[in-house]
Amino acid sequence: MLPAAFDYKRAGSAAEAISLVSEYGDDAKFLAGGHSLLPLMKLRLAAPSVLVDIGRLTDLSYIRDAGDHIAIGALTRHMDVEKSPVLAQHVPLLAHAAGHVGDPQVRHRGTIGGSIAHADPASDLPATTLALGATYVVQGASGTREIAAKDFYKGFLESALRPDEMLTEIRVPKMNGAGWSFQKFNRRAQDWAIVGVAAWRRGSESGVALVNMGSTPVLATSVAAAIASGASVSDAAQKASAEAEPQSDLNATSDYRKHLASVLVRRALEESSK
């Protein structure tokens, strides 16, 4: 299957990439690893007339210890996130979740920034960075701004990114030894999660986010509030779907997803509480 024809522009820098998308407007899309965008284009669910290839901006591929957080360049591949010793030490939940994205071939090409900018509620890393309270740094024609993960996801495949803005860095707070868990329920290897849960806990503090439980990744604030007020893990897990409106599809009905979410949140909290 071939995508619809498009013009291909290769950017030599972030500034050039932004200037190119500003020039072509809504018809242009950034191409990083291409593992979210190209499948959509091949199925003709997306047909941008211009692709601005940012895949060679190697200066945006890095994982750095920045004191209270780890700074990850948007072009860092899943495989590099998965195998990063810095993340293994400071944000093990993210490294672990990155190892569950697709399969090794996908992780050799796909990038953390591409996954987040694509804003697919069924993807693992949007929800994981949401649970961790990450901040996304975006660069546009009019400058740089920071967007909290909780303010980023606006709808199905829609984010707070403006058409001329590019995600450049993901800042993830260090976990400082918090317990954590990543639960991904699917029926076949390499599938997207039917429901997934990313969670961490340090005493009464916790963060829980859900994969594929609505049109955006969902921050389960009621679960965290229950844990903060001293509720048991199983009572807190009953609040799993309080913020979620899961869809029904071939894999699961909405009610089944809600049931699954409460089970997986309980397991995730149990694992995080050890």
Binding site: M1, L2, P3, A4, A5, F6, D7, Y8, R10, L31, G34, H35, L38, P39, K42, L43, L51, D53, G55, M79, G102, D103, P104, Q105, V106, H108, R109, A189, Q190
Partner: protein, 153 residues
């Protein structure tokens, strides 16, 4: 657009449309048909080849993205008429039935051992999760990869 790609050690220069997929470029422009297309949706792994030494699904890479890269396909493994140790291990352990997934399996398996030279059986199973065998001949595929690893290759 003009691209320059090193394929199996040989530099190739071609004019391609931007939407040309890497697998299509390799099969149709360069007539290297050892790489198969299975699902065409980055699920099955039949089209796996190496891009700068790592396995990728070439149905989900544009040829223009491979510009300047080093590509190895199944045809590039044998040296001097001698099969690559992974190919040899697949043959010795009957790691194939119909053979359609085999080129992709072999390329993914070599990439796996490069990253994890001494995998457990479970690590091989998980490491090959991106490759489907429609014959369900997984058992001997796993044995082949383990045999290749045990042979120090």
């Amino acid at each position: 657009m003009k691209i320059s790609v090193t394929v199996n050690g040989e530099k190739r220069e071609s004019e391609v449309e931007p939407r040309t997929l890497l697998v299509q470029y390799i099969r149709e422009n360069l007539a290297l048909t050892g790489t198969n297309v299975g699902c065409d949706t980055s699920s099955c792994g039949a089209c796996s080849m190496h891009m700068n030494g790592e396995a990728v699904k070439s149905c989900t890479v544009l040829a223009v993205q491979a510009d300047g890269c080093d590509i190895t396909t199944i045809e590039g493994l044998a040296k001097g008429g001698k099969m690559h140790p992974m190919q040899e291990a697949f043959m010795q352990n009957h790691g194939l039935q119909c053979g359609y997934c085999t080129p992709g399996m072999v390329m993914a398996a070599i990439s796996l051992l490069k990253e994890n030279p001494n995998p457990t059986e479970e690590e091989v199973r998980i490491g090959l999760e991106g490759n489907l065998c429609r014959c369900t001949g997984y058992h001997n595929i796993i044995q082949s990869v383990l045999a290749c690893a045990k042979g120090g290759n």
